[in-house]
Amino acid sequence: MMAAGRGRVTPRPGRTRWRRTAIAAATAVGLLVGWQLAAPRMGTAFELPTPTSTWLALVEMARSGELWTATKESGLVLLVGTVPAIVLGIAMGVVIGGLRPLDVAFAPYLYAFYSTPFVALIPLFLLVFGVGFKGKVAIVFTLVWLPVLLQTIAGVRDVDPRLLEVGRSFRASEWRMLFEVRLPAAMSLIVAGIRLAVGRALVGVVVAEFDTAFSGLGAEIFRYSQRFRLSHALVPALVLAATGIVLTALLHRAEHRLERWRRVD
């Protein structure tokens, strides 16, 4: 530990990465084995899930097709809600971020709305828009629209003034500045907004499906938990976790790629 203070010899990066992966893999194996051995010994009145029972549940649910049906339902809600929300969020963000008075006027309400723990609004949305597909899409739409809007506003407004100066000195029109300077510079922030939004949208879909307990991955989790078939309940949760992790990683990477448009050097 103290080595960190003394001029630490930096190991070759390739080897460090290999070592880190090996340690992480060993941890995974240790955790799975520990879980497998500990779960039956907890003395609960019902069966706690173990890695093997969860795997068997996954195979069973995949074979019967119910996992695919539920994934399709939740995925469709996400897709139909997210895409128009991103488009509208960016469009409104460009307008508000480009016109300072609009930004000053609406920012406090947008931030207050953004601070509201959105799950508190889900029962309301389901009552107003219905407990089916439409209600869930409305929830996802609102959850995605707001962070994308806020990030677009921030990105378009806070462009590096030097970039704008270069544009002006080449006598670029405001339109060209918008599409060739402001939007590209804002892209990494917008993608960060989409990343936040996707995480929120996944939570929104699941929680809405707890409420309706009718269809989708959240409903599967809810129903199986109620019957204490926890291995089966865990499977859709794992599908959701994998979706969240993969989407977050992809958007993170895109964000880093786009980051260079913001910098002047």
Binding site: G7, L121, F210
Partner: protein, 277 residues
């Protein structure tokens, strides 16, 4: 001569006109004028949409009706008790997250083996929609405070942990070198070097953790064990009392704004303390 005077007068008139124009624009660009007109616009549109018969009146909650149902909600005997329950759950859950998250963040940043072993899983859990396992937690832990606390902590802990970790990793290597040159013990290094340099990041973590902790509180109160303001939302929902539901939601908004105000004050205090250091 004459032309010169005329020019001066013209210039003065121009300047006056300019100034007057500026004054008008000044009044219009007063942020509060802008904000109040935006509020009027939003409330007006909401009233027209919800109150104009386009939405089934059973489910409509126009601002006029929301405002008039504030006294009803606040005087509901359940209200004060629910509010206290919610605040208690949040405070406990957030307190645990703060202590555990900071400790684990420092530990992962300073112990490379733990970092390699656990960081991928910490990041994975942070990216997962954790409320998905709420029904499972409830099934295992029952309708007790423990289940609710686990949910709040699961949501609030990761931003605190990850930001503390980042801050501790960003510790100036020169400071660490000086500390080890003076043969500082590991405990001293943590207390006097690593933790102080992690504080600005920690404040960011607290800000995110407060927001997620509130979400966890609502989820726990609505979907794990009914109680608190989260349940009050459902309680009014069962009665199709949309206006009252919105009043309770606005209580959560108010709470979020108060908490984020406190975090901002903390941020300023920390910044001042660092400058004077």
């Amino acid at each position: 001569m004459v032309s010169q005077v005329a020019e001066t007068l013209a210039a003065e008139a121009e300047a006056r006109k300019g100034r007057r124009g500026f004054e008008v624009a000044g009044r219009l660009s007063n942020p509060w004028v802008l904000r109040l007109s935006a509020l009027a616009l939003v409330l007006g549109a909401w009233q027209l949409w919800m109150g104009g018969g386009r939405v089934d009146p059973t489910f409509a909650a126009p601002p006029s009706k929301v405002a008039t149902s504030i006294p009803k909600v606040v005087t509901n005997p359940m209200f004060v008790e629910s509010l206290l329950n919610t605040l208690q759950l949040f405070a406990l859950g957030f307190g645990i997250s703060l202590v555990l998250g900071t400790a684990l963040g420092l530990l992962l940043a300073r112990v490379p083996v733990l970092d390699a072993a656990l960081s991928p899983y910490v990041n994975g859990l942070y990216a997962s929609p954790l409320p998905a396992i709420v029904p499972i937690i409830t099934a295992v832990f029952g309708y007790y405070l423990a289940a609710k606390l686990i949910i709040v902590v699961l949501l609030a802990i990761f931003p605190i942990l990850i930001n503390t970790y980042q801050g501790a990793r960003d510790t100036d290597p020169h400071l660490l070198e000086v500390a080890s040159a003076f043969r500082a013990s590991e405990l001293q290094v943590w207390r006097d070097v690593v933790f102080p340099s992690a504080i600005p990041h920690l404040v960011t973590g607290i800000r995110l953790g407060v927001a997620r902790g509130l979400i966890g509180t609502v989820v726990a109160e609505t979907y794990a064990s009914p109680g608190g303001l989260g349940y009050l939302i459902l309680w009014y929902g069962f009665r199709f009392d949309m206006d009252a539901m919105l009043v309770v939601v606005l209580c959560f908004t108010l709470m979020a704004l108060v908490f984020s105000g406190l975090v901002r004050a903390l941020d300023r205090w920390v910044a001042r303390w660092r400058v004077s250091e």
